[in-house]
Structure formats: structure tokens, C-alpha cells
């Protein structure tokens, strides 16, 4: 089956990011396709590349990035939520004249239409977060 995932909660907040990661790992291991993960609200913080958690802790952002590479998963950050929280890619940096960007490899910033599309394209949309 084709899965869409929505993550509404920031990393290291409660558990939603890790629950979503474990779900995605299980789904792909069982032969399902994870078409897209859409990061919304505080969930956009799953996509910053400047997180440096302790070495004995899970690096949530890096784990998403690796999963995306291994299984060809589209990681999409909501643009409006990203702008409010200081998440930027090249395009956002240029558009808003910022002095840098902080998006993690494998993520991209786009709009809510990507969530709607995932809802239409996928057999199941599973939501994680607060």
C-alpha cells in the first residue's frame, strides 16, 4: 500500500517524531511504499540540519534524512510553519534575504497542497503528533 505520513510535533518534544520514524521503518520493511512525510506546525523542526543531540541519543533529523535516501521518501516541510519558526532552504533564503539556510539534506519546503496531494494519492494517511 501507499502511505502518507503527517508529523505535527517537534523533535525531542514528546514522542511523535520517533513513533513516526518507527512506523515508517516498519511499513517499508513490510514492502509498503511511503510516498511522502509532511511536516506541519512544530513538526517542521524535524528538518533542521543544525541539531547536535548527544551522541548516545537518536539524531532525529539525520534519521529522517537517511530514511528518505534509502527508501526514496519525499520529506516536505510546510512553508508557512517554516517561516514562523526560522526554517529556510535556498529559495527561502533568497526570497526573504536571510544570511543563511538550515534545511537538512533530503527535505524540501513547500505548501499545504503537498499534504492534500498525499491525502489523495495515498491509500492511507497516518497522523502523528500533539
Amino acid at each position: 500500500m501507499k502511505f502518507g505520513i503527517q508529523v505535527n510535533e517537534g523533535p525531542y518534544t514528546h514522542e511523535a517524531s520517533v513513533t513516526a520514524i518507527n512506523f515508517v521503518k516498519s511499513a517499508v520493511a513490510k514492502g509498503h511504499e511511503v510516498f511522502r512525510v509532511f511536516f506541519y506546525h512544530d513538526g517542521v523542526n524535524n528538518g533542521t540540519r543544525y541539531a547536535t543531540p548527544p551522541q548516545d541519543d537518536i539524531n532525529i533529523q539525520q534519521t529522517w534524512s537517511n530514511l528518505a535516501k534509502e527508501h526514496n521518501i519525499d520529506l516536505v516541510i510546510c512553508v508557512a510553519a517554516a517561516q514562523r519558526r526560522g526554517l529556510a532552504d535556498d529559495g527561502e533564503q533568497e526570497r526573504n534575504k536571510l544570511d543563511g539556510n538550515n534545511i537538512m539534506d533530503g527535505f524540501r519546503i513547500s505548501g499545504l497542497g503537498q499534504l492534500i496531494e498525499a491525502g489523495i494519492e495515498c491509500d492511507r494517511l497516518v497522523v502523528f503528533g500533539d
Partner: protein
């Protein structure tokens, strides 16, 4: 059409489990994850509410989240089924749609 409901907060913290059980129709499944696993414990304030609902809905609990909280499976309400992440994925495909009570 069958629905899988996921509840991720303790019934002591939020009213999402109560709302979910009130609205879930016969044949639905409810999966308790994260702090939601406390809803599966027997001898708690929420136990009767969950037991009453279990005539109509199937209640599941995510095993790894029970383990993370030191809740032994022997303390669960009779009839609650423990699943792992593979079981979680199977529940989402066995049901027609998934509703997260976040």
C-alpha cells in the same frame, strides 16, 4: 467502512480517549500509543470506560510504548491486544481509514 483510531495521550491528561470511545462505531479499532497506553491499564479510573467500550470496539496497545513505561502486560485490561510496530502497520491496512486523536 472500518476505522482505526489512534490515541496518544493518557486519559488522565486529556479527554481524547473518552471522546474517541464515545464516537467510535461498532467494529472500529482503537490503538493506544505513546502515553495513550495508560488507557489499557486495569484498576485505573479509565478502566471501566474502556471495558464498556470493548463490547463494540477492539482495543489494541503498542507493546514497545508499554515497555518504555515499565507497564507489564499482566496489568492490562482483559481482552486488550498487544501489538508491535508491524502490528500497527497491519492495523492501518486492515482498516479502511485512520483517525488520529491528537
Amino acid at each position: 467502512m472500518s476505522i482505526l483510531h489512534t490515541v496518544n495521550k493518557s486519559p488522565l491528561d486529556r479527554t481524547t480517549l473518552k471522546s474517541c470511545l464515545n464516537l467510535a462505531v461498532k467494529g472500529a479499532s482503537v490503538l493506544l500509543i505513546e502515553d495513550g497506553v495508560y488507557g489499557a491499564v486495569s484498576g485505573a479510573e479509565s478502566t471501566q470506560m474502556v471495558q464498556d467500550a470493548m463490547g463494540d470496539v477492539a482495543v489494541y496497545v503498542l507493546g514497545p510504548d508499554l515497555k518504555a513505561r515499565g507497564v507489564d502486560e499482566s496489568r492490562l485490561i482483559d481482552g486488550v491486544k498487544v501489538v508491535d510496530y508491524d502490528g500497527f502497520v497491519d492495523l492501518t491496512t486492515d482498516n479502511d481509514t485512520v483517525s488520529a486523536w491528537v
